[in-house]
Symmetry: C3
Subunit: 359 residues, 3 copies
């Protein structure tokens, strides 16, 4: 069942995941290949079953040559009725598979799923094609097999590493360094920046523009030149329409493996450690530093010049005005420990109800 549903025939229905008109596709794969890719243990179907798989699909949609996924007890009824040829799941659910369904059992089922789905649908590789409408400056160093999209503009002296993809309308500024196997999507602006390997910038990300710096003069504000760069280390991902300003006298640095969602603002001189997560519409003000594995939830805001310790977690819409210790969980505006925040909410609700009764 790897045929593609026609949109016009199924109005109101979801598109089949991984529709080949939109997505790159690989495979088929044997169970042994998928077991190796995913790191999961393989338990064959009791009642025969396929040994060659062609794609992934949700439990209620998957057919006998597709792999599906379960990680939540809530969906056990769907598991009981699935026609999927195989399912990736945790040890607790391993014996719940229907007889015709093989089990890939993993202590990290979501990770196993990520790997299996990526095997079937790898990110499309570089075509190595440089579109004739692209505008390439002087002394640009393009590595092997670099793809440059229509109307992309690459400034003088830029370096683009082997296997990287520069999307349509992307603008890469003078002297910018981009490492190997990066994916710079359409409409991205990068200037005054150095990128490591495997960096991904989603559409409309703005990297390297001036930080928001000025002095008050007698006739209005006067710009303070912003003379640092942006450094994005290996494996960093920056979401659509997010903005990362370059440093003023040092660099703005995003540590290796950190993932930043859409519409996030990172001010000049900020330093993020390795493997941080910054969710959509959060903002990190200038010169603030994050350790490693820090999580900043959606719409949170961090004032400038503070430090957030390793593995700290900042809740959604939190307003952080001072340092946060390593491992701490904070929320609220101003930020406070999770427990304190919810205790405050409960206290105020009780006091408010009492006042209403007595008045």
């Amino acid at each position: 069942m790897s045929e593609v549903s026609s949109f016009s025939e199924q109005p109101g229905q979801d598109t089949r995941p991984g529709d080949p008109r939109f997505f790159h596709r690989s495979g088929p794969f044997t169970v042994e290949q998928l077991a190796e890719v995913s790191g999961a243990d393989f338990a064959p179907a009791k009642a025969g079953g396929k040994s060659l798989f062609r794609g992934v699909a949700p439990l209620h949609v998957a057919g006998p040559d597709e792999v599906s996924f379960l990680d939540n007890r809530r969906y056990l009824p769907l598991l009981a009725e699935t026609r999927a040829g195989a399912v990736i799941l945790g040890p607790a659910f391993a014996d719940k598979c229907p007889e015709a369904t093989a089990a890939f059992v993993s202590k990290s089922p979501y990770l196993a799923w990520a790997r299996v789905a990526s095997a079937f649908h790898p990110a499309p590789p570089s075509t190595g094609f440089c579109h004739p409408s692209a505008v390439i400056g002087k002394n640009v160093a393009l590595g092997e097999n670099v793809q440059v999209g229509p109307c992309a503009v690459i400034g003088d002296g830029a370096h683009i590493g082997a296997g990287s993809i520069i999307g349509a309308h992307a603008s890469i500024g003078q002297s910018v360094e981009i490492g190997e196997r990066c994916r710079i999507h359409d409409h991205v602006t990068v200037s005054h920046a150095r990128l490591g390997e495997r960096v991904t910038l989603f559409p409309g990300a703005r990297i390297g523009q001036d930080g928001f710096g000025f002095a008050v003069g007698p006739a209005g504000f006067e710009t303070v030149p912003q003379l640092g760069l942006v450094v994005l280390e290996d494996g960093v991902e920056i979401g659509a329409n997010s903005t990362i300003d370059r440093g003023s006298m040092k660099d703005t640095v995003i540590g290796a493996g950190t993932r930043i969602d859409n519409l996030v603002q990172i001010g000049h001189n900020a330093r993020l450690g390795r493997c941080c997560i910054v969710v959509s519409q959060a903002g990190i003000s200038g010169s603030t530093e994050l350790g490693d594995f820090v999580t900043i939830a959606a719409q949170a805001g961090l004032i400038g010049h503070i430090k957030i310790g390793d593995k700290a977690r900042v809740g959604a819409q939190c307003g952080v005005m001072s340092d946060v210790e390593a491992g701490a969980d904070v929320i609220g505006s101003p930020a406070m420990p999770f427990r304190e925040f919810f205790r405050n909410v409960a206290t105020l609700r009780k006091l408010s109800a009492r006042k209403t009764e007595s008045s």
Copy 2:
């Protein structure tokens, strides 16, 4: 008085609305035509008056061949002095018109105004011209009378419906389907998406990029392929620089007639019903579902995997962490009913003042 003011001659003054250098213009129209277009009742001016109208203008600016508008008692003094040839207003103000001014009386005066103003200033129709600098892929199906702007890029296999306009620098991805009479403004990115009819995307909107999905691996985060699409149903409008991620295993769907303002984030797998309003800088996290006619005010944030019932209203800056019932009004972070929120504010103010007095 339909001449246009010169900018240089009137420093500091507002431009006359609908300046023909910037806006498409239609007309003139007779009163009968305007009455029909607007659905309003027409009461002719007591003292003669024009029967042919050439444009719209505010009360204090409009001349005898222009139509103006009143919907707020506060502006009655301006009505008394207006030189407008006609005014659209509600029944309560119908007898307040000056003698030389005709009245269009409507129970929905703002709607009547929308229609009259749109008659004089319709959105510019497609020129049907495909600019030679545009880059059109293979097997692209362009309907009748499609306009494609300079430097636009359209990927292989895309479908663009009749009468649609693709703006300058827009990037339409491979296999994307765009219905009839859509307006895709400059610098928009659309990939992995199907759009119905009359969809409008304002500049810099990002539609269809990867959702924010990854698993934690031994050496850092590993991407979970995002294999669904974005579906924008008929009449949807998406504001400037807003971002709508495609689904992971199903589609992200925005229901017919829904209007989304600027800088809004919609996460993967979210589902919005019909005629919802999402105001600027609000964020809706992954897999959250909205019913029909839901209003999300500015800067509100909704956590993932919750449901918001029909006609619910979420206030500005609200932080919604759990389901909201149909018709409910919530505000605050965490969200609570409007009355409870303002009671809490009052309670805390009183307690705080008392503590200060007694200390």
Copy 3:
């Protein structure tokens, strides 16, 4: 020591500020020239010292022919050890300079710094070059020495003032007026707008699209035509990916010298006075008016149709639902005076702790 460090030789180290591969560079300058530029008093080094300077650098990096800066007592230990040829500092620190370091003493050291750094690193002037890939419409008036970047699109009848720079992929709409010496960065969209002199728009700024206006009709929302413009007065700066909607029946106006950071939303008909500051991710709703010298901190939100008086300061994440008096400081959601907000926070903390003890 004006050589440039090689990236590959110094992994993990900051780039030297003002790296000539990325930044325009001027000079060298004599002390007299720098004293004049900065308005600071000059105190020569006790132990000889350079009289010709080649650049700026932080205290711990600067060499004998570079100028550095101190404005915070915290960094006095760095001053004691600096090798900088000169340091800009306030009167209180003037006698703390090492013997080989000259002092530029100013009551406004940050302003003096802005001017000295700008002398060494002026914003790059227009090349006067119009890239052949740019698409220029009919009757476009380009002033003297205008630079137009690759793939820029300029609509019919637009005016671009002398010395202005239009970046790569910028889209300037029909009849738009841009004054002299403006800097329109890459990927900017401007339509329905008039810009004064020295206006700077950072990448991805969206100026002049439709405001969010519609009436409720029987079959859904109906658009109210947005017939005003955006007016950006002299010296205005708009950050990356910020959005400024045009007016509905009058103009949206940003007053001279006002600076707007990244990802800010300004609704239709809003009026900002002179020299306001609006920090990243803040939002100002339609028809709201700000006086002069107003500061709106990050992620604050202002409801529509209110007035904010001169020199008022709105705190980060503040939710402003009513007028704010001139000179007031407000914070919280809903907005309240700073003192009241922090008193409320303290009160609730105490009450909450007491309830926990007694329960």
